[in-house]
């Protein structure tokens, strides 16, 4: 748990204008009360099960296992959820929270559009008014998700300030929230932002790991050696790792986007290459220059294309609870193709980063050992991008 100021060790906190401080404090109080409220938990459980499709399968990837010929590989199938990724877990939880707090409007930011679509979906479901800020560049690259959001009744607002990408969309969503804090709830899309957001998003995502813990018993998995997940802001990874944070014998690996390589300037590997600083309200690892100006990240995967990372991940890194690695666009694309061909599953480019790291760890495993990869989303949204870089097949 974070301390009373929302710090995980030295990371986290609330670096925001005074205007929103009272709202953050209120949010924390209301959330703490609801967290233990049986009717809230029941409602959340109902929508996760009946609407989103939980629990998701822990699927034994027999073909992929045979491909490497070493330990067993299981995939946690978050890609099978409604709207196509784990993002819906948080969106449902926070929309219910907004409703309980009497807020009729929600605002969110989105990069690739997955979190935006999840928010637009729950807004339609619960009759909330929804605005989503999205970088102008991303709007052009993700036309399909923009249409989905608009179809669901959400207003998508192009952001041209700064560099017109996810970090600017996040700043713009925060600015809107600062201005309309009295009737609007801000649904941040990852385990980032000021306290209590990293904690709240983690709590709504930790069901991923909790289910895995139960499924391990059902599947008779005895020697779980590795758990692997991709990291942008880090919500699916946090959801996956949190329940295993005290299991020292299981190696947890978070895989960042190395873009064109971590020795180039074009990557999004905040934990591998950044240094701690403050962005969007939290102290955490960050890609920045010597004056503290934020450096625009790069990744083929829009969902990993963020210059910061959740503060609890920074804490996990410095305390050695999780190991963080990075793989390149090229490596992720190979894994994208591999899973499609071998298992008949098209993974999201984000998840492909985690899958790619199997190349590194599988040769080190024994046949009686198991590796679980979080398949955080499906790859339908990435097909346009794949056509562009892979050409005809």
């Amino acid at each position: 748990m974070p301390d009373k100021n929302g710090k995980f060790g030295e990371f986290g906190g609330r670096f925001v204008p005074e205007t929103v401080m009272p709202a953050l404090i209120e949010l924390e109080e209301r959330y703490e009360a609801l967290k233990n409220d049986a009717s809230f938990q029941e409602e959340l459980h109902f929508y996760l099960q009946e609407y989103a499709g939980r629990p998701t399968a822990l699927y034994f990837a027999k073909n992929l296992t045979a491909h490497y010929g070493r330990g067993k590989i299981y995939l946690k199938r978050e890609d099978l959820l409604h709207t196509g990724a784990h993002k819906i877990n948080n969106a449902i939880g926070q929309a219910l929270l907004a409703r309980r707090m009497g807020k009729k409007k929600i605002v969110a930011e989105t990069g690739a559009g997955q979190h935006g679509v999840a928010c637009a979906t729950v807004a339609a479901l619960f009759g909330l008014e929804c605005r989503v800020y999205m970088g102008k560049e991303d709007i052009e690259r993700q036309a399909l998700n923009v249409f989905r959001m608009r179809l669901l009744g959400t207003e998508v607002i192009p952001v041209t300030s700064g560099t017109g990408t996810l970090k600017d969309a996040t700043s713009e969503a925060i600015r809107y929230w600062v201005t309309n804090v009295e009737d609007t709830h801000y649904i941040i899309g990852s385990v980032v932002g000021p306290h209590p957001y990293p904690m709240i998003v983690r709590d709504f995502q930790k069901i991923i790991g909790e289910e895995v813990k139960e499924q391990i018993l059902k599947c008779n998995i005895e020697k779980l050696k590795y758990i692997v997940a991709c990291i942008g802001g880090g919500s699916n990874a946090m959801g996956m790792f949190y329940s295993f944070r005290n299991d020292k014998e299981i190696i947890k690996i978070g895989v960042e986007a190395a873009g064109k390589g971590i020795t180039t300037n074009e990557h999004a590997a905040s934990l591998t290459k950044g240094r701690p600083g403050v962005l969007h309200g939290a102290f955490s690892y960050l890609l920045q220059d010597k004056d503290g100006q934020i450096i625009e990240p790069y990744s083929i995967s829009a969902g990993l294309d963020y210059p910061g990372v959740g503060p609890e991940h920074s804490f996990f890194k410095d305390s050695g609870i999780v190991e963080y690695q990075a793989v390149t666009d090229e490596e992720a694309l190979q894994a994208f193709k591999r899973l499609a061909r071998i298992e008949g599953i098209i993974p999201a480019l984000e998840s492909s980063h985690a899958l790619s790291y199997l190349e590194e760890i599988m040769p080190k495993t024994q046949v009686d050992e198991t590796v679980i990869v979080c398949l955080s989303g499906r790859g339908d949204k990435d097909v346009d991008m794949a056509i562009k870089v892979m050409g005809g097949l």
């Binding site: 100021n5 925001v16 204008p17 005074e18 205007t19 401080m21 600015r175 804090v181 920045q288 503290g292």
Partner: protein
Amino acid sequence: MSNLSETLQGLKASGRKGLIVYLTAGYPDYATTLETVLAMEAEGADVIEIGIPFSDPIADGPVIQHAATLALKTGSTTAKSIELVAQIRKSSRIPLVVMTYVNSILGYGKEKFIADFVKAGIDGLIVPDLPLEETGLLEDICKRQGIPLIGLIAPTSTVDRIKCIAQKAEGFLYCVSNTGVTGGQHNNYDQIGTVIKAARQVSQIPMAIGFGIGNSQGASAAARYADAVIVGSAILEKLTNEGIAGVRNLVRSIRETLDGESE
């Protein structure tokens, strides 16, 4: 007593309202910033706020965002902004307050940032994304360097928070006029007026209203509740559209309005 407190307390004692004006360092270039600062002083500004451009300014509206983005694009750096302060000090003693975001300070090194700016000649520091709970990060360094870390209160601040912030306040208290970001036109100061009343119960410090004050009418309306007004985005807009002459006219007209009403 510091240059800043002396100036603001002096104004208060003589029944005049203070005028605090903002510029982004290096927008559109450092020579212009320097010249504009001196021009604003000549037109009757009492305190100058120098904004150090940051890539992700979450408390700022489009005008200051744009100025920061452009300043960074044309090569504005922290070191050059420190040099700007030193240049201003060669010809002016006007109180200078630096306004920037936490990460500009951390990125450059917090001890070094504050020490270098103090050495160059600043009189105070405003960090809009450093609320009460996080002031521990810079408080001791500012004390050691002998400059106030300016506190901010907002229309949404609860009574308890207002009291805590006001009790700790040094230099002046920055009273944010509306929920929102810098810029725009805002003419209703009743809400922040109520907040200021609560702050005055525990502190004698000068109160300055900022955000959305763009002309003499706004300044005059805000001055009814406060000891000083802060004008930022409107100055930058004038600078962009009409150059330094436009800035002079705006500062002069606000100064005249404020003085006219105090008499």
